[in-house]
């Protein structure tokens, strides 16, 4: 799978639909997806749905199951039903999976984001090296702002969010910007808080905003209202603001899913953790054609990506 | 008396509540310009009959005739429209509203944006003047004394041009002076043609005021008479259905040591002003000290301070020699106090609890009632059954919710609970207010009995008859202070009455 996308950035033609088209089916396996937020959240859950779509897979979906108990019941239910591959798209589901997976040795479970499989041989784990994209986004942001302040709208200070935010800070400061100001609101879902946080950053002089979690949709609005560029992550967030989303780090899980499917079809149902990275094309910096980023900046970003890929730059 | 059609005629009214026949084929009439008194024990069905008249309940059987025509009264509004007014036994006032607002309620169609409070206020002042019903229209009702609230109730009815006015125990909470004032007003009203239904447990009032008297017992009419042909004793017996002893015998008792001592007591009232000022009292075992006084002169605050329910500013209290200054109610009780509060439904009993539970309210922690850490239900039942029996509490079962008992029976229940715990000191506030003659007699007898057993009894009452019937000594409170303490032998109604106005 690491020979997926050749380029690590993709610049969209302005005005094109960013929604993902159904690809040619790569497998006959049946899939089910259990996810904590809505399947079309333009963030974490949608990144998985889009990835499956690219692979031509139409899974059964149980979404919005932020209650771990409910998710566990759904995961177990799909396994009982005989679905071949059950994707548990939520870190918090891991504990339940550790109990369920051994009961269904012929089912393959795919779980993320997680960096290990808890020693289970029918579980694959996946995670993003989100700091990589964060670094690139931060670098571009610094390039655009010329030393001005930047604001980051964070949710709870944990998980991938921290990786992305720290990567963003590293990228921005490496490119000569002052350290971006970071606010963790304490909630993944409180749009009002994210909105006011963005506004606070703007009032404090921020010229660029970024953020992660489904609550940031409010922050994008603030960016739009103040004509401030926005950097997205997880899914392509151009739909939120056609003009001001500069670039989104998009999770292409299909890169690792492809490998997993190959293994499963070959009889190995799990046992490995796989990362999506800039190297393997699982992380793609999707640049918004409508924003009109200078070609020189795009070229610079390509350079940074290349350096991250070859290890010259450590984004953490 | 005229022979023309009566203003009101109730024909064969029957009303059933679950398990209770509250009115049984009751007929009753009122003519213009007369006062018709309705008498009966607690729970006889007086209020129920009047609530039917006022549209609060619907009769199961029977007719209401107003001015000779059959009337349908389905709600208070229709009663008011037909010029029936009612002053309820339990005040129907909204304490957080002003007097004007209380009067104005319901006058104005809610579709009318603003009530014309100025006009209402002006009219209230007119009525006040005309009938001597003094009250400040702009004051919040919760700040008023009981007597003043009563006046507001009457103003409410007069404001609505009531031709037929029902007064359900209007005097229960009034001072003798206020009662006299009220009677002046009522006579003025009858002179103007208003018909009045007057309900009271105080027989001398009934005899003084009414033109005719009807007696109810157990929901049925058991007697009709006129004042000229009867007296208190006979009325009492008509009500109760047996002989009644209106003044309990008070055998001579050796007084013991001081059981309750109050000295230099200062207490602040709800309104933040001094309510009790430098009060000294000693009550000995075997003695009943009556506290007379017009309501609102610090009696309530004094009682609450002794019971541990109110903070005191200065002074000290001791019960049986133990200092109980500033203690909690539980500690005051532990020192030997029994307390019969003035407002029995608010402070004396838990309405939702059944009879047995209320009898356990104070002593529930007693080891008698507990086995292996749990309630011993047999013991509790036996205890309750004994008290109900001994104190003649009329209740269908031991597990009847207390709120459905009549006032007199609730008071007997509280008495039973408080007296059964072998107290050293009994503090009883308004022990027979609103209680019927039979029950009052009973309660009085019990208090005198306790005195005989060497208990110190402090009775607070606005009813001079009661104070005189019970007390060995009479203390008079005025403006927060004890202005005079009489020996029973030296006290006359006149001298006590005068002291109550502050003249010593």
């Amino acid at each position: 799978g690491s020979d997926g996308d050749s380029g690590a950035t993709a610049t969209s033609e302005c005005g094109t639909d960013t929604s993902v088209a159904m690809g040619d089916s790569v497998t006959d396996l049946t899939f089910a997806l259990v996810a904590p937020s809505a399947k079309d959240d333009l963030a974490f859950t949608q990144s998985m749905v889009d990835s499956l779509t690219r692979l031509g897979i139409e899974p059964q979906i149980t979404d919005g199951t932020f209650i771990v108990e409910e998710a566990a019941a759904a995961i177990r239910g799909y396994a009982e039903e005989g679905v071949d591959v059950v994707i548990a798209h939520g870190t918090q589901y891991g504990g339940s999976l550790a109990e369920i997976a051994p009961d269904f040795p012929d089912t393959s479970f795919i779980w993320g984001t997680a960096t290990d499989t808890q020693g289970l041989d029918n579980v694959f784990a996946y995670y993003p090296e989100a700091d990589q994209g964060g670094y690139v986004n931060g670098w571009i942001a610094a390039e655009m702002t010329d030393g001005a302040a930047m604001g980051v709208v964070g949710p709870v200070e944990a998980g991938d969010a921290v990786a992305y935010v720290n990567g963003f800070i590293a990228g921005a400061t490496a490119n000569g910007a002052p350290a971006p100001s970071v606010v963790y609101t304490g909630s993944f879902s409180d749009v009002a808080l994210a909105t006011e946080t963005a506004q606070a950053h703007v009032d404090n002089g921020a010229q660029v905003l970024t953020g992660t979690s489904q609550s940031t949709v409010g922050a994008v609005n603030v960016a739009a209202a103040n004509d401030i560029p926005w950097f997205g992550t997880q899914s392509n967030q151009e739909a939120w603001s056609t003009d001001l989303v500069v670039a989104s780090q998009v999770y292409h899980w299909d890169v690792v899913l492809d490998d997993m499917i190959e293994s499963i079809e070959g009889g190995t149902l799990g046992g490995e953790a796989m990362a999506i990275t800039l190297q393997n094309g699982g992380l793609v910096i999707e640049i918004n054609g409508c924003y009109g980023l200078d070609d020189s900046v795009v070229d610079g970003a390509e350079g940074i990506i290349a350096e991250i890929i070859d290890g010259t730059i450590d984004p953490t | 008396m005229t022979t023309s059609t009566p203003l009101l005629e109730l024909r064969g009214i029957t009303k059933r509540f679950p398990g209770v026949l509250a009115n049984d084929d009751v007929s009753f009439d009122v003519r213009t310009g007369e006062v018709h008194a309705l008498l009966g024990e607690n729970g006889a069905g007086k209020s129920t009959l009047m609530k039917i008249l006022f549209g609060l309940y619907q009769a199961d059987e029977g007719q209401i005739m107003l001015r000779g025509e059959e009337a349908t009264i389905t709600s208070p509004t229709s009663a008011i429209e037909q010029r029936v007014g009612m002053v309820h036994q339990h005040f129907m006032l909204v304490p957080t509203l002003t007097v004007v607002e209380n009067v104005a309620l319901g006058l104005h169609d809610a579709r009318k944006l603003r009530p014309d409070l100025d006009a209402v206020g002006a009219r209230i002042r007119e009525i006040s003047e005309e009938y001597g019903l003094e009250v400040d229209p702009d004051i919040d009702v919760w700040k008023l004394s009981v007597g003043e609230r009563q006046r507001v109730e009457i103003i409410k009815a007069l404001y609505r041009d009531a031709e037929l006015l029902v007064l359900d125990e209007p005097t229960a909470v009034l001072t003798p002076q206020e009662v006299d004032d009220l009677f002046v007003i009522l006579r003025q009203l009858t002179a103007a043609g208003t018909g009045i239904v007057f309900i009271s447990h105080k027989l001398h009032e009934v005899l003084a005021l009414s033109d005719r008297i009807t007696v109810l017992r157990n929901g049925r009419v058991t007697g009709r008479t006129v004042p000229a042909e009867t007296d208190r004793q006979q009325l009492a017996e008509m009500m109760v259905g047996r002989e009644v002893d209106l003044a309990p015998d008070r055998p001579i008792v050796e007084t013991g040591p001081v059981r309750l001592s109050v000295s230099g007591l200062h207490v602040t009232g709800d309104r933040g002003t001094p309510a009790v000022v430098d009060v000294d009292l000693d009550v000995r075992g075997g003695e009943i000290l009556g506290i007379a006084g017009v309501s609102g002169n610090g009696q309530r605050e004094l009682a609450e301070a002794i019971a541990g329910l109110r903070q005191l500013d200065r002074g000290s209290i001791s019960i049986d020699g133990a200092d109980t200054t500033g203690v909690t109610p539980g500690m005051a009780r532990a020192a030997g106090l029994s307390y019969v509060p003035e407002e029995r439904m608010k402070d004396g009993a838990v309405g939702e609890f059944d009879v047995a539970e209320n009898l356990l309210l104070v002593d529930h922690g007693d080891s008698r009632f507990i086995r292996n850490g749990l309630f011993d239900r047999d013991q509790i039942e036996t205890h309750a059954a004994r008290l109900v029996e001994e104190y003649a509490v009329k209740t269908p079962t031991l597990h009847t919710p207390t709120s459905s008992l009549s006032g007199g029976n609730i008071q007997k229940l509280i008495m039973a609970r408080e007296l059964d715990s072998d107290p050293l000191v009994i503090l009883a506030a308004q022990p027979t207010r609103g209680v019927d003659i039979g029950a009052a007699e009973y309660i009085h007898r019990r208090l005198v009995e306790q005195r005989g057993e060497g208990v110190a009894v402090l009775v607070i009452s606005e009813d001079l008859d009661e104070v005189f019937a019970l007390s060995d000594r009479i203390a008079v409170m005025f403006d927060g202070a004890v202005v005079k303490i009489f020996d029973r032998a030296d006290a006359t109604r006149e001298s006590v009455g005068l002291a109550m106005t502050g003249v010593v």
């Binding site: 809505a38 079309d40 959240d41 333009l42 949608q46 964070g154 709870v156 200070e157 100001s181 970071v182 606010v183 963790y184 609101t185 304490g186 909630s187 879902s189 409180d190 749009v191 009002a192 808080l193 909105t195 006011e196 946080t197 506004q199 606070a200 009032d203 404090n204 489904q214 949709v217 409010g218 994008v220 609005n221 739009a224 209202a225 739909a239 939120w240 603001s241 | 006022f54 609060l56 709600s75 208070p76 008011i80 309820h88 005040f91 129907m92 909204v94 509203l97 607002e101 209380n102 104005a104 309620l105 319901g106 104005h108 169609d109 809610a110 009318k112 944006l113 603003r114 009530p115 409410k156």
Partner: protein, 309 residues
């Protein structure tokens, strides 16, 4: 710390606090009137969610904010009818009915959103209305006089609600039935109608608050309110059933929220303490109430259904 006391930051904080307070204030004012009539509504959050979705969806379709506001009001009114039916006609326990309304609103708004919209698509936010002259006052203008119309409406409703409660026939009846419904009934005031009116007012305000929230944030998503409606109910207690104190509570909550976000943004609160910062509005609200030590009693008949028998 000194960064915070620059004028722009202070002005921004004030403006943010006021913005944040708006939906709380609208909902809490409505609930205040409801509770004054003796009816507790724990379903405010659910009604807000429905109003928020209705307002959002209308604007998404029509781009007309006022239509959106109207729809929010109408949804609030409709839910008010439901709540009145349940609590007044059927005498249902108010606490549990409110939670029923909350669950229904939470689920149904999300269901509609998933079926009709799916991906959260931003709408145009409510436009700011600059009050002529006042908006131009340096510093004060941007803080107080450059808000969306609903914010002004919310603040204007504080004296209006007080006026309604204290001066109108309806308000007098509301206070009476909330305190002593028997007394009101005995004078021919319809307890049912009065409470119905108060419930309709309260729910309509909740619907408006919801629409105000989604139109101000210019977005909808699952559980957009995040418990805001419950906090609004809490603010009624903070305000001891007095609109101006409810306003004080809403402003306090909004201002503390705004301040903590700005202090985090300025690194006055270090990054690692984000959770502590997030607790601040809740803790400060409680502490403020402890210090105020208001011992005002609530409406005596609160949560008690009325019947004559």
């Amino acid at each position: 710390m000194s960064d915070f006391f620059t004028l722009t930051v202070l002005v921004g904080t004030l403006a943010s606090g006021i913005r944040t307070a708006m939906p709380y204030l609208l909902a809490a004012l409505g609930e205040t009137v409801g509770q004054r009539s003796g009816v507790l509504n724990l379903g405010v959050d659910g009604v807000m969610l429905l109003g928020a979705f209705g307002g959002y969806y209308t604007v998404l379709q029509t781009e007309n904010h006022w239509l959106g506001v109207l729809v929010g009001l109408a949804i609030g009114l409709g839910m008010g009818l439901v709540y009145a039916l349940v609590t007044i006609v059927f005498h249902a326990e108010q606490g549990i009915s409110g939670i029923g309304i909350f669950l229904f609103g939470l689920g149904f708004s999300d269901l509609l959103f998933q079926e009709l919209v799916g991906t959260p698509r931003p709408i145009k936010p409510l436009p700011k209305v600059e009050i002529p002259l006042l908006a131009d006052i340096p510093h004060l203008g941007p803080a107080f006089f450059q808000h969306n119309l609903l914010t002004y409406v919310a603040f204007a409703l504080v004296p209006l609600t007080t006026w309604m409660l204290m001066k109108t026939t309806f308000g007098m009846n509301v206070r009476a039935v909330g305190e002593n419904p028997q007394a009101a009934d005995s004078l021919g005031v319809s307890v049912a109608q009065t409470r119905m009116g108060a419930i309709l007012f309260g729910n309509t305000m909740a619907g408006l608050a919801g629409a105000g929230l989604s139109l101000q944030l210019a977005i909808f998503q699952h559980n957009l309110t995040n418990g805001l409606g419950f906090i609004a109910v809490a603010l009624v207690y903070f305000g001891a059933w007095r609109p101006r104190w409810v306003l004080a509570g809403a402003l306090l909550y909004g201002m503390v929220t705004a301040t903590r976000l700005r202090w985090q943004s300025l690194d006055i609160i270090p990054r690692g303490a984000s959770d502590v910062a997030a607790m601040a509005p809740a803790i400060i609200t409680i502490l403020a109430l402890v210090l105020l030590a208001s011992r005002v009693r609530g409406p005596a008949a609160l949560t008690k259904p009325f019947s004559r028998h």
